[in-house]
């Protein structure tokens, strides 16, 4: 027997209604919301530099190539200014 989920939040109820119109039943809609939430959370950790691309792919159970695509679509890149400055300094040094 599946777990009973009581939805009190009115906005969540509205989202579920929209998903129902897309042909998803309540369980399917809840699963989809959870999946989207997990993806956003994991991508946020990547953006902060707390996960590597490979770790994101492991958590989301995607291939590395699919993960790069997802990151491109949602974030772009995550290199911070301090890492980029170091890379630029090295590029300049190597060119001498």
């Amino acid at each position: 027997m599946g777990e009973v989920i009581i939805i009190r939040d009115s906005s969540l109820r509205s989202v579920l209604d929209l998903m129902r119109k897309e042909g998803l039943d309540e369980e399917g809609a809840v699963k989809k919301i959870i999946r989207l939430g997990i993806t956003d959370y994991v991508l946020e950790l990547y953006k902060r530099g707390d996960l590597t691309v490979r770790e994101v792919s492991e958590v989301l159970q995607l291939s590395l190539r699919e993960t790069v695509e997802l990151i491109e679509e949602k974030i772009g890149g995550n290199v911070a200014i301090q890492e980029q400055i170091k890379a630029i300094e090295l590029a300049r040094k190597l060119s001498e």
Binding site: L64, N78, V79, A91, R92, S95
Partner: protein, 157 residues
């Protein structure tokens, strides 16, 4: 200049249309794991960049080297770097770059490769700016604007 490139950076350079510029001017080596992740597996799923990378491998413009298989895939690039006369590891993954910094391995990002070609006078100022702009959607704002400003501050054309 010999560089060890990870999967993320190689895919971004390919998608941005910069791979040929890089492989024609630098010695690009990848570990087998990177070949698997950028060519072998994506080819079966129809990613066009996988075919592009494979063309370079077949033409000998990208070399694939066998390394000891690590549980954490990114460390195959580190093992590759340690195995020869490499100048840097190329990646666009912040956590991995921080790890490299911690263990004292020099690194470059995709956009800093363009800057290297600019400093070497292989690219003019205008060409360097145009190439960095191609990377816009694949890199962070910090990486993009820092690179653009770096080119602009140099007086030469």
């Amino acid at each position: 200049m010999k560089i060890a490139v990870d999967s993320d950076a190689l895919i971004k350079l390919t998608k941005a249309g910069l791979k040929d510029l890089i492989v024609n001017n630098l010695e690009v080596i990848i570990p087998e794991k990177v070949y698997d992740e950028t060519v072998k597996i994506p080819k079966t799923k129809g990613f066009p960049d996988a075919l592009e990378i494979d063309k370079n491998v077949n033409a000998g413009k990208i070399s694939v080297k066998e390394t000891s298989r690590e549980e954490k895939g990114e460390f195959e690039v580190v093992n590759l770097y340690k195995s020869g006369d490499f100048k840097a590891v190329v990646s666009d993954d912040r956590k991995f770059l921080k790890k490299l910094d911690k263990i004292g391995i020099p690194y470059l990002t995709p956009s800093s490769l363009i800057l290297y070609l600019f400093y070497k006078r292989i690219l003019s100022r205008e060409d360097a700016l145009a190439q960095i702009k191609k990377l816009r959607k694949y890199i962070s704002d910090e990486e993009y604007f820092t690179s653009i400003m770096e080119v602009k501050k140099w007086g030469r054309s």
